[in-house]
């Protein structure tokens, strides 16, 4: 399996690098979280620190969110939808390799490129911008990276589970968008969860969305204690298990309905 992953990753990194403009535009979308940051900075300038979060906290939070947005968000469902309608999905089915691995490596390939471009950029900016500070020990960094990785895996598995709806509806992307849109408020993407109303914050801490955004960011800012870190990892693992199970069950039922359209 290592050889398969190696070969597929190499190919997908190659595809990611094939179009320079596409890649540049893609990386530029990292700026979106910085727009949200500017809103919060305006608030802080006007009314002072929000619930203990000052300018430096918001800058550090959203600068890292820019990287996380690219590294943990899964676009898999759009690829799946397109493959489903064009007939390319059939070619994935014909291979003696579960399409899950084919889509996962595709996602990994693109993320690898982004990491290679954005991480040095973020490190450089951190050194140059005094407001950015991540005072973490080695374990803290390791836990943050691990949280990002498990968050990414959860997003992929969640997208795969939703993608199987396409066996019934031919298209699943819009249903996923609805789910993901709701998640934007519960993930820490629109605003850090500790600044949300208590009911939203409490709900968000048990939902799958925070695992790939709010959790690693709060970890990076040193705002979580050991118990909260353990609980958050357990929530992530639980949702990975749930979505993996849903994916498998839905696949088993749905594959009977596959119509292999598009050629």
């Amino acid at each position: 399996m290592i050889a398969v992953y190696k070969a597929l990753l190499r190919a997908h990194i190659g595809i990611g690098l094939a179009y320079r403009t596409r890649l540049t535009v893609w990386v530029l979308t990292s700026l979106f979280p910085l727009l949200l940051m500017s809103v919060w900075l305006a608030v802080v300038d006007e009314v002072g620190p929000a619930n203990g979060w000052d300018r430096s906290d918001f800058i550090s939070y959203y600068a890292a969110a820019a990287l996380l947005w690219h590294t943990t968000t899964s676009f898999l469902i759009w690829t799946w939808d397109s493959d489903f309608r064009s007939g390319d999905f059939s070619f994935k089915l014909l291979k003696p390799l579960d399409p899950f691995h084919q889509y996962l490596t595709q996602e990994f390939g693109f993320r690898t490129i982004v990491i290679v471009i954005l991480v040095p950029l973020l490190v450089g900016i951190t050194l140059l911008v005094p407001a950015l500070h991540y005072e973490l020990d080695l374990l803290g960094w390791a836990l943050t990276v691990f949280a990002g990785l498990t968050g990414f895996l959860l997003n992929v598995v969640m997208a795969m589970a939703f993608a199987t709806i396409a066996f019934w509806t031919t298209q699943a992307g819009n249903i996923y968008s609805l789910w993901w849109g709701m998640g934007a408020f519960l993930s820490g993407w629109v605003a850090p969860l500790p600044l949300m109303p208590p009911i939203v914050e409490a709900t968000g801490r048990w939902m799958p969305f925070r695992s790939s955004m709010g959790f690693p960011l709060e970890l990076l800012l040193g705002r979580l204690d050991g118990a909260e870190i353990a609980r958050s990892f357990a929530v992530t693992a639980g949702w990975i298990g749930i979505f993996l199970l849903l994916y498998r069950l839905s696949w088993r039922r749905g594959i009977h309905r596959y119509q292999a359209v598009g050629g």
């Binding site: 050889a3 190919a11 190659g14 390319d88 014909l94 003696p96 050629g263």
Partner: protein, 326 residues
Amino acid sequence: MQEPAIKVDELTKHFRVHQREAGLASGVRSFFRRKYADVKAVDGVSFSIQPGEMVGFLGPNGAGKTTTLKCLSGLLHPTSGAASVLGFTPHLRRQEFLRSFTLVMGQRNQLFWDLPAMETFLVNQAIYRIPEKEFRIGLDELVALLELSPYLDKPVRNLSLGERMRAELAAALLHRPRVLFLDEPTLGLDVTAAAAVRRFLTDYNERHQATVLLTSHYMTDVAELTRRVIVIDHGRLRFDGNLTELIDATTPHRIIRITMSEPVDPARLGEFGDVVNTDGVTAVLQVRRNATKETAARMLSELPIEDIAIEEPEIEEVIRRVFAER
């Protein structure tokens, strides 16, 4: 008697298809109230194919050929009936089964579009677990037979249709499949490229004793590659047998083409058979199949013949007749 490589028994595949007429009003109506129709794409088809056989699978558009191939590849679950390929039930999609066949669709592409074809070959090597030595030998063979070396390093999107089809075949055959499902493998290719693909397929079949089920609208493909043909239409089997038997059964005539040393009256030619066309000196006649020899002999003795040729009718004509009879 060997166990068949492919066995299809009363295979049926029905689809529930959403139907709507063209136009905005119809689109709005359809949004609120869906209409569906059951389409019998394959309707109780049975046949079997022995290992190493190359069989033509013919029928008009929408006859159910591709649906049958998709059922045999495990992409589609049959509505009823059974299919077996190399002893496997295709829709169960066992790993060993997926390693033992290939499906090539002429109008589709499995190569990585933005990368050189070599990248797809390397990915397939890993996925099909082809040992390095075997991969290199197989690749060299395919590159030589398909004359691929100039195109290996070019992104697939920059290849011509013919070049891409050859690369596609190489990608599909690297793992040495024992069964080949070929759906219009020469679609859109020019005469030279199509001939190269046919030569290659014949060679592959001889070298590896692969079983081949081929659909094509190009009768040259069918005539050159296969002896046996299976004809389906509206999802039902219309004919299964030797290509010459099909010709005998559907076209009770042969064509005699003659050139004469001096003009002959068409009415005189009409005594030998149906005159398809004539300019006085050359003529094309249709004669009864069982009277061909005798008629040709009479022509040679009674007409000022310079040249005479007896031909089978075009296979396109044969197929047209099969479907006209339905």
